[in-house]
């Protein structure tokens, strides 16, 4: 065998090895050979578990395996964020940590452009829960309640201010009209008249909505009055009068007392005793006495020192546990110094909710609020359907093409089909090597590039036929055919790669997958049609030297 054919065969063998070789032979450690992949998942008991599976390392896109895609941006609508770029970078780290804890197989968390984070969670089905995990700020604080009753003391002044501003109480006259509507109603003069009488009877616009709670700084608002009370305490007239060093916070949800349910309104210190930044661990548990879900936490050593000093100074005071600006449960009394450990009661929440909370606490708080700008969910059945049909289309399509080529070019067609086999190997190997994601349009792109891969062969074969018609010898015709077809093959492949590159640049998820499959496919088809097919021809001509007619 001449040296050039041997070298060609060696190159082909090397390429195949890179594409499909088992790990010790395939130096890059990537390729089509099934490998052990570790997947972290959360078991039913809430513990993380590592499972290893053997499989071909080609990633499937969300549209094929189902899952949730979220795009998030920093939410600046409720106040400017000082350094959005930095906040986004830190948010990325936090979300990554949370998703790791959450236990999703092969998640994707990445920044896209300058202002967006894309989160892809394959296999997940519940978008509400995914959003909760990703979007929750998880900012934990412990704050003392208003032990001096400073807020209760200014309530009459607030009522008076509201009266001056023309806010009426909810009496029979104003019943059913929301606070906001009243405020925007504008009929101030008449409003002032009637309020005078009403508020005397009911004790003032704000006071009439509040019931004194059992704890210092605690007030209860009937659930149906919550929107009105909430809008009242946000009025500038009221805010101005809130005593310095205090803040008003709502309870996380309504609490039932007897037959009615109430929202808790808490006057708390504006300076937290300690925040979640000092947290070292958090776990979910079922409280053995009441069977309720709780999240227990542990502080860092330094945090523990600060916390025990602060709680030591405030024995017998009440301490609100504030998560994302809402008070969790009713503030417990501080019975003595609290060290590094504590727990958060979550009321009627399920164990899963407690687990999710513990997870977000562990991963840390988001540096700024995030808003979801895009949400896509693909169910697993749709993905499976897409794969099945895509595979079937790919197989039928490839078979039809093979039949056409062999029928038309006969023996040369068989050589081309052989090269096409290498083409498939190279393409899939390239996908694995680049760690690219196979998507549904990608599968379509693959099938399409099979059609196009044949093009290079067709160009060469037609040229060879022309050369034969011109009366050249078999050997010269094959050489001439490859040589003359080359410029056209190079030009056409390069222009297709050019357009695919632009697709890759602007596309998201599935379209990116399509573009990358197309690019790899074109490179692979170039290799297979030009190099592999030619080697086959050379080998075959070598074995039959006396050939005078070319079966093409």
């Amino acid at each position: 065998m001449p040296a050039n054919i041997r070298n060609r065969l060696l190159v082909i063998a090397g390429l195949v090895l890179v594409s499909v070789g088992p790990p010790p032979l395939n130096m890059l450690g990537l390729g089509l050979w099934p490998q052990e992949v570790t997947i972290r998942t959360r078991g039913a008991d809430g513990r993380m578990r590592d499972t290893t599976v053997e499989r071909v390392p080609i990633k499937q896109g969300l549209d094929l395996q189902g899952g949730i895609h979220l795009a998030l941006e920093i939410d600046q609508s409720r106040g400017q964020v000082a350094d959005p770029a930095d906040a986004l970078e830190r948010a990325l780290t936090v979300i990554r940590a949370r998703i790791d804890e959450f236990g999703v197989a092969e998640p994707l968390v990445q920044r896209v452009g300058t202002s967006r984070i894309v989160v892809e969670l394959p296999g997940l089905r519940d978008p509400a829960r995914a959003k909760q995990i990703v979007q929750r700020s998880a900012f934990l604080e412990f704050r003392l309640t208003d032990m001096q009753n400073a807020f209760a003391a200014v309530l009459p002044q607030m009522d008076a201010a509201l009266r001056r501003a023309g806010v009426r109480t909810t009496g029979a006259a104003a019943g059913g009209v929301s606070a906001v509507e009243q405020l925007l109603g504008g009929d101030t003069a008449r409003g002032t008249d009637t309020t005078g009488a009403d508020s005397l009877a009911a004790g003032g616009a704000l006071t009439s909505l509040l019931y004194q709670g059992a704890l210092p700084g605690e007030f209860l608002v009937p659930e149906e009055e919550f929107p009105r009370a909430d809008s009242l305490i946000h009025l500038p007239e009221v805010r101005r009068l809130i005593p310095r060093g205090l803040e008003l916070l709502w309870s996380a949800g309504p609490m039932s007392q007897g037959a009615r349910s109430f929202y808790g309104l808490y006057a708390v210190d504006s300076r937290p005793m300690i925040t979640g930044e000092q947290l070292s661990d958090a776990q979910a548990q079922l409280d053995p006495t009441f069977g309720q879900a709780v999240a227990t936490f542990q502080l860092t050593r330094a945090g523990g020192r600060i916390f025990s000093r602060a709680t030591g100074q405030h024995v017998n005071d009440y301490m609100a546990i504030v998560l994302d600006g809402r008070v969790q449960g009713r503030p417990p009394i501080i019975k003595g110094q609290i060290g590094q450990r504590g727990q958060i009661e979550l009321g009627n929440a399920s164990l899963q909710d407690a687990q999710d909370l513990a997870l977000t606490l562990r991963a840390g708080a988001l540096p700024a609020p995030l808003v979801i700008v895009e949400e896509l969910t693909v169910g697993p059945s749709l993905g499976k359907d897409s794969i099945d049909k895509g595979k079937r289309a790919a197989i039928i399509g490839c078979l039809a093409i093979v039949l056409m080529v062999v029928a038309y070019y006969r023996f040369a067609g068989v050589l081309a089909v052989g090269a096409l086999g290498f083409y498939v190997l190279f393409t899939l190997g390239g996908l694995a090597l680049l760690d690219a994601t196979l998507t549904l349009p990608g599968l379509a792109g693959f099938l399409l590039s099979v059609g196009m891969a044949v093009d290079a062969n067709v160009l060469v074969f037609e040229r060879i036929r022309e050369e034969v018609d011109q009366g050249k010898t078999v050997h010269a015709a094959v050489d001439g055919g490859f040589q003359h077809a080359m410029p056209a093959i190079v030009d056409s492949n390069l222009t297709t790669v050019l357009t695919a590159l632009f697709l890759f640049q602007f596309g998201t998820g599935p379209v990116k997958g399509f573009a990358i499959t197309l690019i790899i496919g074109i490179l692979a088809s170039f290799l297979s049609a030009v190099f592999v097919t030619r080697t086959f021809f050379l080998l075959w001509l070598q074995r039959r030297r006396g050939l005078t007619e070319l079966p093409i």
Partner: protein
């Protein structure tokens, strides 16, 4: 051994007027429809909400879904059967005059779910796909898609300019623009939904059509060097005939691939498959009947060196055209 179009001598350039007429006949109604009802843009571009459901209960049908949505106050949502008989898609697009936030598109998705649950029972259907896209994302995407198409145009023009010369580049771009316009007309006639994936298909057609045109142009360039004294019309016809077997063979293998995709592939990909199938037919057509006549027209107006030599001489022999169409 069978060998299609061996030594074919069709007068393609002579038939160019018929080809132009065919193009216009397809293009005009398509664009008239486009002006009347606009493009059917997907949620990705307009922003809005899409919920795809798979009914488990045969009683669920389009009309029932619409009623359930109307009762829940979700007027104006579009309900459509999608692929299989038990699958439906509910779409609520954002319209420019109703400014909505991103959260509201997600709330709409949840509202569709709860409206259906109330009407049919929670277990009687599965939600197989949910999309909620904010208005900002949609607008950005539209811009990016347009940019991608224009940039890829520019890049191929520059490439062809280098590899061939500007006459070829312009002719190839002209043929490609023709393909894109006809494809848009086709999309509007078929009422296909323009999604990201369909844009990807259009860009692929750009690639394919250029590919096809380049193979022909490559042959023209080669023949220009080979037969320096031949008339341009003859030379282009010769090149088209010489590359005809390849054009037909490659066109049919690729067409088979897309038709299989159309018949066997999933519903999600059907828009892509339709556009690709049409695009391959049009791309093949245009590289023969549009690109080459444009090249000829350019050569006549601004003759290149090779062509100038050819023009200076009268046709040396009878044109290759068997149809005997008079050559200018």
């Amino acid at each position: 051994m069978f060998h299609l179009f061996k030594n074919a001598k069709y007068d393609f350039l002579g038939a160019r007027r018929i080809a132009y007429a065919a193009t216009v006949a397809l293009f005009l109604p398509g664009f008239a429809l486009l002006l009347v009802r606009g493009l059917n843009q997907s949620i990705e571009f307009t922003g809005g909400t899409l919920v795809q459901i798979q009914a488990r209960n045969p009683a669920i049908a389009e009309a029932g879904i619409r009623d359930a949505l109307n009762q829940a106050g979700l007027q104006g949502a579009e309900v459509q059967r999608f692929g299989a008989p038990d699958e439906y898609v509910v779409r609520a697009r954002l319209t420019p005059d109703v400014v909505q936030s991103t959260e509201s598109t997600q709330e709409t998705a949840a509202a569709v779910d709860s409206a259906l649950a109330r009407a049919f029972g929670a277990g009687s259907y599965d939600i197989s796909r949910r999309e909620a896209v904010g208005p900002k994302v949609g607008g950005e995407l539209r811009q990016k898609a347009l940019m991608a198409i224009l940039l890829s145009f520019g890049a191929t023009l520059v490439y062809l300019w280098f590899r061939f010369e500007w006459r070829f580049g312009i002719a190839a771009i002209g043929a490609t623009a023709h393909d894109i316009l006809l494809t848009i007309a086709f999309i509007s006639m078929m009422k296909l939904e323009v999604s990201l994936v369909v844009i990807a298909a259009i860009l692929t057609i750009v690639g394919y059509s250029l590919n096809d045109t380049i193979v022909v142009f490559d042959r023209i360039r080669e023949n220009l060097r080979k037969y320096k004294r031949q008339h341009m019309v003859e030379l282009i016809n010769l090149s088209l005939n010489e590359t005809l077997p390849r054009t037909v063979m490659t066109g049919s293998t690729t067409l088979v691939a897309t038709i299989v995709l159309l018949l066997v592939g999933s519903e999600v990909i059907s828009g892509f498959a339709w556009v690709m199938t049409f695009g391959i037919v049009v791309g093949t057509f245009s590289s023969i009947f549009i690109a080459s006549p444009i090249l000829l027209a350019i050569e006549r107006r601004w003759p290149g060196e090779d062509a100038r030599g050819a023009r200076a001489l009268a046709p040396a022999r009878e044109p290759a055209a068997p149809l005997g169409v008079p050559t200018p």
